[in-house]
């Protein structure tokens, strides 16, 4: 307290409580460290919070739902108020879902809030993951946190899948049937694994209660634990920050937790919950009374899973059937299911999970990084990320091919063929285009730094010459565009030492160098003070000879770091 007057009763009470706690927990140290901890301020840092708060919304609405939902496949006859289900035989799971929707006051709202929150949870995770990826926030020391986040992505998908299957309706039931078909396709143990999951033949009597335990206990427990770890890492490592004046690798610039972040983050929770409530109030979702109770016979047109599973659906739709074969011993290998359902997603997800380690190995960079990259300054990484996103997007579109067919009056067969081609061409093409865009933006930045903003003012000299006046960038604008590092392809020790003896480990180094060239050969380097000075001295020819005065061009064939080229005096390769 900074006042010297007598404390108010409220302040006294607060002080007494703090003292009580501190004497028993030593919490004073924590409060000291944490209360005014600095967090940088940028809207893109709030994407992870959208995920966190939508998860809290899921928990709150979920507890409400568990008070009324009956996770049982026991048969019952419906006697509730929804007329088109009157007298229909259904499982208790489905019946209790109808009861929640029509007989529990506010029950439908809670169901809709829960499901919209789940869709937004997954969307927020993906968006947050993209932000982290494109800004390079996964670099040391945050590689482990990337893996934790990736695991949260997978757990989220499992939570969603198990959750929307609980009402035991025709749509989600067919989704479970598909899951069973995929499980059966596993070689050797497929049929046994199917029995493991379903407690016998499909659909059995065990599945809904088991899914309930998974959905309400096992997965939320894991998610909460991993979220705790995820946030602990953020506190431990301190949050990253965008490049800018005054921001370095050795500081964090922003606002303190108390009061600014507490207010903004706390307020954002209510905003997220509020937006989800708005959606639950106005937009219908998962109207299971339209689908009917699960029965293996009916199916509805437009049979798709929730959006975050669509890539799997599209993958299954695109694969041609010929791939299935029977082995020499008479055993069936369903490659037409294994490839799209296990191998393709396996590859995509593994690349995503392993990327931080791949990039670290390729750059050989062992330093800590706390200042983020602007995506344009890392063309390979940005292009790679875009192509992965495009791959998932094309698969998701392929999973919606029947809706595309009806909405655009196209043939579903033609659409399928188009996507069969696009799934290969699309990612490659988007990689090339994105990389070129990044390099182009970097060149634009160079131009801007060297020559300043175009003011639109034209000046005519007495001699008759016209030039446009350029306004040079101020120090802050310029810093943003020159602060990044130009990563160059790896330089390695030469193949032979000074006595001509071949070096062990050269082959591995050479391979790493080749990979690093793929990543970093094409680059635009940031402007150096020398270049800026040079451009100023040639100021009157600004608009005409810009190309000639750039000493460091985009890296290309002529600047390849070739170990076979003449080695310099120190035995190392020529510098660019």
């Amino acid at each position: 307290m900074t006042t010297t007057s007598t404390p108010t009763p409220a302040a006294k009470a607060a002080g007494a409580t703090a003292d009580y706690l501190d004497q028993r927990t030593g919490i004073g140290v924590v409060v000291k460290t944490f209360a005014r901890k600095i967090f940088p301020d940028h809207w893109s840092f709030l994407l992870g919070e959208i995920a966190l708060y939508s998860f809290v919304t899921i928990l709150i609405s979920g507890v409400f739902l568990t008070m009324f939902f009956v996770p049982s496949m026991g048969e019952t006859t419906y006697t509730g108020p929804w007329s088109s289900m009157q007298g229909v035989e259904m499982s208790q799971a489905f019946s209790s879902t109808l009861r929640l929707s029509f007989e529990v006051r506010g029950g439908l709202l809670m169901r809709q809030v829960h499901h919209w929150a789940a869709l937004i949870f997954m969307a927020a995770i993906v968006t947050h993951m993209m932000r982290v990826f494109f800004t390079g926030a996964f670099r040391k020391p945050r590689e482990l946190n990337w893996v934790v986040g990736f695991t949260l992505l997978i757990l989220g998908m499992l939570a969603g899948f198990s959750g929307y299957s609980l009402p035991d309706d025709v749509l989600s039931g067919n989704g479970l049937r598909i899951a069973d078909g995929v499980i059966k396709a596993v070689p050797l143990i497929g049929s046994y694994t199917s029995y493991f999951v379903f407690g016998g033949e499909f659909p059995g009597q065990e599945l809904i209660p088991r899914l309930f335990t998974v959905h309400v206990l096992l997965i939320p427990a894991l998610i909460l634990a991993l979220i705790g770890l995820h946030l602990l890492f953020v506190v431990l490592h301190k949050h990253t920050q965008y490049p800018g004046s005054g921001r370095t690798e050795k500081n964090v610039v922003g606002y303190p937790v108390l009061p600014v972040y507490a207010a903004k983050a706390g307020g954002f929770f209510f905003v997220v919950f509020g937006v989800i409530a708005l959606m639950g109030a106005t937009m219908s979702i998962n109207a299971v009374w339209n689908y009917g109770p699960y029965d293996p016979s009916p199916v509805s047109a437009g049979a798709q899973p929730d959006w975050y599973m669509l890539f799997l659906e599209g993958s299954l739709r695109l694969m041609p059937g010929q791939a299935e074969f029977v082995t020499w011993g008479g055993y069936t290998v369903s490659a037409n299911i294994i490839i799209p359902a296990m191998i393709v997603p396996g590859i995509l997800f593994t690349m995503l999970a392993a990327y931080p380690f791949i990039e670290a190995a390729v750059t050989g960079d062992r330093r800590e990084h706390h200042v983020l990259d602007r995506p344009r300054n890392r063309p390979f990484r940005t292009a790679f990320g875009v192509s992965i996103v495009v791959a998932f997007f094309i698969l998701a579109l392929a999973g919606s091919n029947d809706l595309i067919a009806t909405h655009f009056h196209l043939s579903i067969n033609d659409i399928t063929w188009a996507f069969r081609v696009l799934i290969f061409v699309g990612p490659w093409l988007s990689f090339v285009i994105t990389k070129r865009i990044c390099l182009g933006l970097q060149r634009k930045d160079r131009e801007l730094v060297l020559h300043g903003h175009e003011t639109g003012r034209i000046v005519r000299f007495a001699s008759g010459e016209y030039i446009e006046v350029h306004k040079p960038l101020d120090a802050h604008e310029r810093w943003l565009r020159v602060q990044h590092e130009a990563i160059r392809p790896l330089e390695i020790e030469p193949a032979e030492d000074s006595r001509g003896v071949r070096r062990k480990g050269y082959a591995l180094d050479r391979m790493r160098q080749r990979v690093s060239q793929v990543f970093y050969e094409d680059r635009v380097e940031p402007v150096t003070p020398a270049e800026l000075a040079a451009s100023h001295s040639h100021g009157e020819h600004d608009a005409l000879e810009a190309d000639v005065h750039e000493p460091t061009q985009v890296g290309g064939g002529s600047h390849l770091v070739e170990p076979d080229a003449e080695t310099g005096a120190e035995g190392r390769n020529p510098q660019i």
Binding site: Q112, R177, G204, G302, Y331, T332, H451, V469
Partner: protein, 346 residues
Amino acid sequence: MSTHDTHSHELEPHGDGTLPDRFENPGHPEHHQRLGDLDPKANKKAERQVLALFTVSVVGTIAFAVAYFALGDPTTDPTKIASATRTENLWLGLTLAFALLGIGTGAVHWAKTLMNDHEMSEERHAIASDAESREAALQALQDGAEDSGISRRGALKGAVIGALALFPITIALPLIGNIGGDWNVGKLKHTMWKKGTRLARDPSGRAIKASDVTIGSVFHVIPENLEEAEHPLDEKAKAVVLLIRLDPRDIKSEQGEGWSYDGIVAYSKICTHVGCPVALYEQQTHHLLCPCHQSTFDVADSAKVVFGPAKRALPQLPITIDDEGYLIAQSDFHEPVGPSFWERKK
């Protein structure tokens, strides 16, 4: 000529005349005052706005309670259940949304306009512990290992690892033993269709006469005795069948001699891809389309695959009629129905 103001200091040469290699961080930009910091009236206005937003929340909560009681029970009139539920959902949801958004926007607006917005800076320290602590940690672990004597007693090490590795069997055995039901995967190869089982309409269970089936029609079929099974849904998941009548001249092939009756063919409804019901019958092309992944089967040609990710044709159910004219199965399917699995041909 570009008009410069003064050169910024990064371009001033060093004492020895050389320029620095890279630009240097210019340091924190100047702090911009907000309107609320400069003008006390604007400050007051912002405060009033924050108050208003929190009030919106309180009003929302009160409105929620009012709506909850005023709207009453939507089930009182079953003929209006859809619109009553919609009204209740809308009003409870909207008032809830306002109650929440009021708090959220109020808190954020407060932080943005009224709270101290001077940017602050905090130092980052290296994440790794200092050399001394690491030494001490290493030493502590080594001392602990020394004291346990484990490095000298190899047998103990092996024993402890062995015991720990084995004990999960006590949990795993009963769990896995029971979790798969009777583990009899052989059941996947058979359905409840037998010789003489009548084909019945799904879901009513009424038997079907051959004369009921007209050209161009499709019947969804279950075994007549389905409800008598111990696990009807499990049996239904394998036994559902599609019954289609074609002009006998259009039938190009079938899976067995005499398996159809007078142009009436019966094929399994379970897709051989991953098990969805292949329910869409296109009368003119006599194709069966599965809505899940678009596998397409030609009914006139042994239901073989003409498009899509399925590999195998739908198994055909051999049918004939009994002496009353009802359609009956001649036997079970001649191969396992549904998706492929490792041992399906064994």
